[in-house]
């Protein structure tokens, strides 16, 4: 009896010792954990959250940096939405670009991945060829493409001359300037291709084999296995691609300066000019916030739509 009671009490002692130990360990973990993530916590506060609050405040002010901000309420937003003729124009330009370059890029990258997903000799070499353009710095590719599209001496016009098409100023005409930038963006589809390739290779071979046994032909395999299995990857690239396309800047800034006739006056270029050209920091902040809210809404919409077309293998874990 005594021995049992003895063990019980010693057990209790061990238990309380253990719980005391876990309590100290818990506290230590908390302190250490926060010490480890301290850089990013500070970073988020100093370089993200703080500036966000300030930017929201600036967006309700007239602010030229040199003097202190003057509160004008919704003034900037009203000017932006109702008076500034370039605002909606730049929105239109940016949307047209985003909704052509992103889908074309996805389709192109996907088809390229299908082509390069074959087990034939030299495939690694071809994959490299298609990927190389994506490592070219944006400024270098802007310089290069300006020259390629040069109306008088450009390579593209030389190629068209072979087909007896007269030379054309692609970037110099309002009708073609934006489509030309879309075309240029397709030079970089190798980046998406690599991602789709990995996705294609991640589809279990057993799925195809099972379907083949059931008498499916290649077309069925493609439509009912490849496409559904790839939708999550396509979805992710769609979201990231759109967010990136809404923020295009360098092509417009370096190649066309937003012209001709504002045909490539991208949203971010207008924002840049407002902020650093005219020092309208308040107006620029309003524009930045509008973009931010727009991206948020867009992303939510795409996420909402994903339940209709994105296929997740494990239905229950669908987050």
């Amino acid at each position: 009896m005594t021995s049992i009671a003895g063990t019980a009490s010693s057990q209790n002692r061990v238990k309380s010792f253990v719980s005391a130990l876990t309590a100290t360990k818990h506290r230590r973990d908390t302190i250490e954990g926060y010490l480890f993530i301290l850089p990013v916590v500070l970073g988020l506060l100093i370089f993200t959250l703080g500036p966000m609050v300030a930017s929201l405040y600036f967006s309700f002010t007239k602010f030229d940096i040199l003097s202190s901000p003057i509160w004008i309420g919704l003034g900037n937003y009203i000017t932006m939405f109702t008076q500034d003729q370039y605002f909606w124009l730049s929105c239109k330009v940016t949307l047209i670009y985003a909704f052509t370059s992103v889908p074309l890029g996805i389709i192109g990258g996907f088809m390229l991945a299908l082509l390069l997903n074959q087990k034939v000799k030299g495939i690694a070499f071809f994959r490299t060829c298609f990927y190389i353009p994506t490592v070219v710095p944006a400024i270098a590719s802007a310089v290069l493409w300006s020259w390629l599209m040069n109306p008088d001496y450009g390579l593209i016009n030389a190629a068209l001359a072979i087909l007896h098409i007269p030379p054309y100023s692609f970037l110099g005409q309002p009708e073609t300037a934006l489509p030309s930038l879309v075309l240029m963006s397709l030079w970089g589809i190798g980046g998406g291709m690599v991602i789709y390739l990995a996705g294609l290779q991640g589809i279990p071979e057993s799925l195809y084999e099972a379907a083949k046994i059931d008498g499916a032909n290649e077309w069925d395999l493609f439509w009912h296995i490849t496409i559904p299995m790839m939708t999550p990857t396509v979805f992710f690239n769609l979201v990231m691609g759109l967010i990136g396309a809404f923020q295009v800047f360098i092509q417009a800034f370096v190649m066309t300066s937003g012209g001709p006739l504002h045909a490539t006056y991208f949203y971010n270029l207008m924002l840049y000019e407002r902020a650093f050209g005219f020092l309208q920091m308040g107006m620029a902040s309003s524009m930045a916030w509008f973009l931010c809210v727009f991206i948020l809404v867009m992303t939510l919409l795409v996420f909402r739509s994903s339940t209709f077309w994105v296929f997740y293998e494990t239905g229950e874990e669908n987050q």
Partner: protein, 295 residues
């Protein structure tokens, strides 16, 4: 790129009797060769243009190859009057190295905290980190610009370097955290029993074990800084303080008729990127894939 360990098919292995298979095989090859030519043509054109004489560029239709290969375009472009390519290269390298150190140290520290220590509030902070990826940079840019102007950071490298030491990029934290989570707990527990502190575990176990991911992060960072245009454009104003990307833009703005020299300088900027790609392609591709799929 990614080497297939499985059997690959060459021309010799095709059964020519089954015309469908042979047709498909040849058709794929034609597409791949034609596509590769189209994709590489602009770069090839950049290279040959950079070796042409000024007058040769202004002919139509353009010649495919330069009549004489003017290698002197490269030194001539580099030492062009009123351009500071030596200085710009130095600036770019300095910023790149400082940023790379900051990114690697800061993001791996944070990633360790998120991956391996349990503490209240951790998941909320991690969500905040992830959410910050979505935030367009322009939202924070203007207040930061104003703040930097107040503390005298404009026209210095500080705005391009210092913020990196605070977290090192949300995406990098995410990438490293994924990797750290898969490192066996036993390794860590053994080290704790030996009395090692967390900082030592991070430095002596986690960092050496995650070399491939760290390499991927380093390569992405290098690419990012080397290519960055917007940041330097906004924060740097004195030409001597420019980076290479800004310098080339300045060259284009001032001497847009010097096409071969401009192409030569642009091509010089491409070379390190291609070089890095060939050394680190495995890591890069893996990183690209991780970023595209596991999110």
């Amino acid at each position: 790129m990614t080497e297939d360990r499985e059997v690959t098919i060459g021309f010799g292995d095709i059964s020519w009797r089954r015309s469908g298979q042979a047709f498909r095989f040849i058709f794929s090859y034609i597409l791949m060769i034609a596509g590769s030519l189209v994709f590489l043509m602009p770069l090839f054109w950049m290279f040959t243009t950079s070796l042409k004489d000024q007058s040769e560029v202004y002919t139509f239709p353009p010649d495919f190859f330069p009549k004489t290969w003017l290698w002197s375009n490269f030194p001539n472009g580099w030492n062009y009057p009123n351009m500071y390519f030596n200085q710009w290269l130095g600036n770019t390298l300095f910023i790149t190295i400082m940023v790379m150190v900051g990114v690697l140290l800061s993001s791996s520290l944070c990633a360790y905290g998120f991956a391996r220590i349990k503490f209240p509030g951790r998941d909320i902070w991690f969500m905040a980190v992830l959410a910050s990826i979505m935030l367009p940079g322009t939202v924070t840019l203007i207040p930061l610009y104003v703040a930097y102007a107040r503390i005298g950071w404009l026209d210095t490298f500080n705005p391009l370097i210092i913020p990196v030491y605070f977290g090192g990029g949300a995406f990098n934290i995410f990438l490293l955290r994924q990797f750290f989570k898969n490192i066996p707990v036993e390794l860590e527990e053994a080290a704790i029993l030996d009395g090692a502190g967390r900082l030592r575990i991070w430095w002596e176990i986690f960092l050496p074990l995650s070399r491939p991911v760290l390499a991927a992060v380093a390569v992405f960072t290098f690419q990012g800084v080397w290519n960055d245009f917007y940041g330097p454009l906004i924060f740097l104003t004195t030409p001597e303080k420019y980076t290479l990307a800004l310098g080339i833009n300045m060259f284009k703005g001032m001497y847009s008729t010097q096409v071969p020299l401009m192409m030569a300088m642009s091509f010089l900027m491409v070379i390190p990127m291609i070089f890095v790609f060939f050394i680190a392609q495995r890591q890069m591709i893996r990183g690209v894939i991780l970023s595209g799929i596991k999110a």
